[in-house]
Symmetry: C2
C-alpha cells in the first residue's frame, strides 16, 4: 500500500518573511538556494513552495529589506541574488524577538494545566 506520504505543513502567517531574512543573514543567496537552505536547516521539515518564496521576496524588496541583483549561479545559470539591507537586518532582529515573545506566550497557554 501507500508509502508514508510527507505532507509539508502550511507555515503560520508571517513566518515566511522571517525565514527568508534569516537565510540571508549570512550573505547573499538566490531564491532557489534560499528554499534549499530553509529545507535543510529545518531538518527537512519545512518546505517552501516556489510561489510562496517569490511572492515573499517581492514583499521584502518592496519594503526595502532586501535588494536584488542578477548574476550567475554556481551551476552557471541566470539567478537573482538577494542581499539583506541594514533596515532588513533590524527588521529581522525585531521580528525574531516578536516571534519568540508570541510563541512563548502561546506555549505557556498550551502547557498550562
Amino acid at each position: 500500500m501507500g508509502q508514508k506520504e510527507r505532507i509539508p505543513p502550511e507555515l503560520p502567517g508571517g513566518t515566511v518573511d522571517l525565514l527568508i531574512l534569516k537565510s540571508l543573514a549570512g550573505g547573499r543567496r538566490h531564491g532557489y538556494a534560499i528554499a534549499q537552505y530553509i529545507r535543510a536547516s529545518s531538518g527537512e521539515v519545512l518546505e517552501l513552495g516556489e510561489s510562496s518564496l517569490y511572492t515573499a521576496l517581492q514583499r521584502l524588496l518592496l519594503n526595502g529589506w532586501v535588494t536584488g541583483e542578477w548574476g550567475a549561479s554556481e551551476h552557471n545559470r541566470r539567478a537573482r541574488y538577494y542581499t539583506l539591507t541594514s533596515a532588513g537586518r533590524k527588521h529581522l532582529a525585531a521580528e525574531t524577538r516578536e516571534f519568540d515573545l508570541v510563541v512563548g506566550a502561546i506555549q505557556r497557554v498550551l502547557r498550562a494545566v
Copy 2:
C-alpha cells in the same frame, strides 16, 4: 507624554483555534471567559479580539470540535457555553503536536549559524 502603549501582536495563522480548544480542555466555558483565560494564562501577552474569537468559534462549531449551549453566566447573564467534543480533543492533540513540530523547525532555522 504618552504612556507605553501595549500593542497586542497579531496571532500567527491558525493558532486562534488551538488556543480556544485548549481553553476548553479543562471544561466548558463561554466566549467571554475564553478570551479572559487566554489573556491571563499567556501572561497578559495575547489579546484575543471579540471578532476573532467568535468567528473562530463558528469554525469550531461547524467542524464539530465544540458544541454550544445557552445558559447563565456566573454574573447572571445570558451566555453560550462551549464544550469540547471527543473529535475536538483529538484535533487539539494533533494540532498541538503539529504546532510543536513546525515551531521547533522554525526555531532551528532562526537559531542556526
